[in-house]
């Protein structure tokens, strides 16, 4: 039977029987982003000669983080809540040739892992952070998160959220990431291109993907994807607009941290001998 081409990167069978279908709710944006990521990784394996063994997926806790080590047929790690970036740093230091992809959610990256988030980008470590941002804590019941938009109604803000949302792209750019872009699940080809560019970039890359949560936003997936198209605007036209800009925000390659670290090791060895 004809099979989805990306199923070759998925472990369909495990020791306890069938692993698929995914544990996600119907129409979840995290599944779409996983599909986009696998398309980008597949293109890199076929076109750039990067080996499948070179990719490592690291994730924390959350709906989106659930996808990597449970289903992917790549080397992967499932770490503590918010601590995916320190683990990724350790993996990279052990073998700087690896292509590390941190697959994370907004709660994992911006809320509990906020401090690790800024310091990973400050060091410009050679990792690609893919952040599935649905603007709420999906796994625990849809509560308000630091990325929830103003006046959004959630179970913990029944009359509307009074706090301004975190702009993760601005945060990553300011902290020192060398590649930053934002897309939504309604922009499949742009997202795949951005992920490919992020993985190819030698340095810290941050790709935020605005996503939908049909269960907690109480709408159908298609309505939410169309809404995402409506609330976003291309960065070129975003000057006098209240909408969320999407596109490539920042691309400025600068020296990467592990290279500097190895040069320091060489310097220390020379001074000893």
């Amino acid at each position: 039977m004809l099979k989805h081409p990306m199923l070759k990167y998925i472990r369909e069978e495990g020791p306890a029987g069938k692993r698929l279908p995914f544990i996600l709710c119907p129409g979840c944006g995290a599944g779409q982003v996983l599909n986009y990521t696998l398309h980008a990784v597949d293109d890199l394996i076929n076109q750039s000669g990067v080996k499948k063994e070179d990719f490592v997926f690291i994730s924390g806790i959350g709906c989106s983080s659930r996808l990597t080590s449970h289903y992917l047929n790549f080397d992967s790690g499932w770490t503590l809540h918010g601590r995916a970036l320190p683990v990724a740093t350790g993996v990279l230091l052990a073998n700087p040739k690896l292509k590390i992809i941190v697959f994370t959610g907004d709660g994992d990256a911006a809320a509990i892992g906020g401090n690790h988030f800024i310091h990973a980008f400050r060091r410009n470590i050679d990792i690609t952070v893919i952040c599935v941002n649905n603007g709420l804590y999906g796994m625990t019941g849809g509560q308000v998160a630091p990325t929830t938009q103003l006046f959004t109604i959630t179970p913990t803000t029944p009359y509307g959220n009074t706090e301004d949302a975190f702009d993760l792209c601005k945060l990553a750019t300011t902290a020192g990431a060398s590649y930053v872009s934002r897309w939504t699940t309604a922009h499949p080809f742009q997202t795949i291109k951005a992920i490919k560019k992020g993985i190819a970039n030698k340095g810290a890359s941050f790709i935020e993907i605005l996503s939908q949560c049909p269960v907690h936003e109480h709408k159908t997936p298609v309505e939410l994807i169309n809404a995402l198209k409506g609330i976003t605007v291309s960065i070129d036209k975003s000057m006098n607009s209240n909408k969320i800009p999407v596109g490539e925000f920042h691309f400025a390659p600068r020296p990467e941290w592990t290279e500097r670290y190895e040069s320091i090791i060489e310097k220390a060895n020379e001074s000893i001998s």
Binding site: P5, P21, L34, T185, V222, N226
Partner: protein, 68 residues
């Protein structure tokens, strides 16, 4: 001959593929799988251009189109 296969075990009937299909090849249907989800259905295979958009946007890797 173009073939579009929807895996009834993996599909959760979110109908994102139906919304994205530019030629309206995929349509909602009343076919129900073992979990009670309403599966989409490929009705008009003659106009399919194999753009693969349904494959790219599927959150559950449930749909497959004959490769070009």
């Amino acid at each position: 001959m173009i073939e579009i296969v929807i895996n009834p075990d993996y599909c959760k009937g979110c109908n994102i593929c139906v919304a994205f299909c530019p030629r309206k090849v995929l349509q909602t249907s009343n076919n129900i799988n073992s979990k009670g989800y309403m599966l989409p259905e490929a009705v008009n295979l003659d106009v399919c251009t194999q753009c693969m958009l349904c494959e790219i946007v599927c959150p559950d890797l449930a749909i497959a189109v004959t490769p070009k």
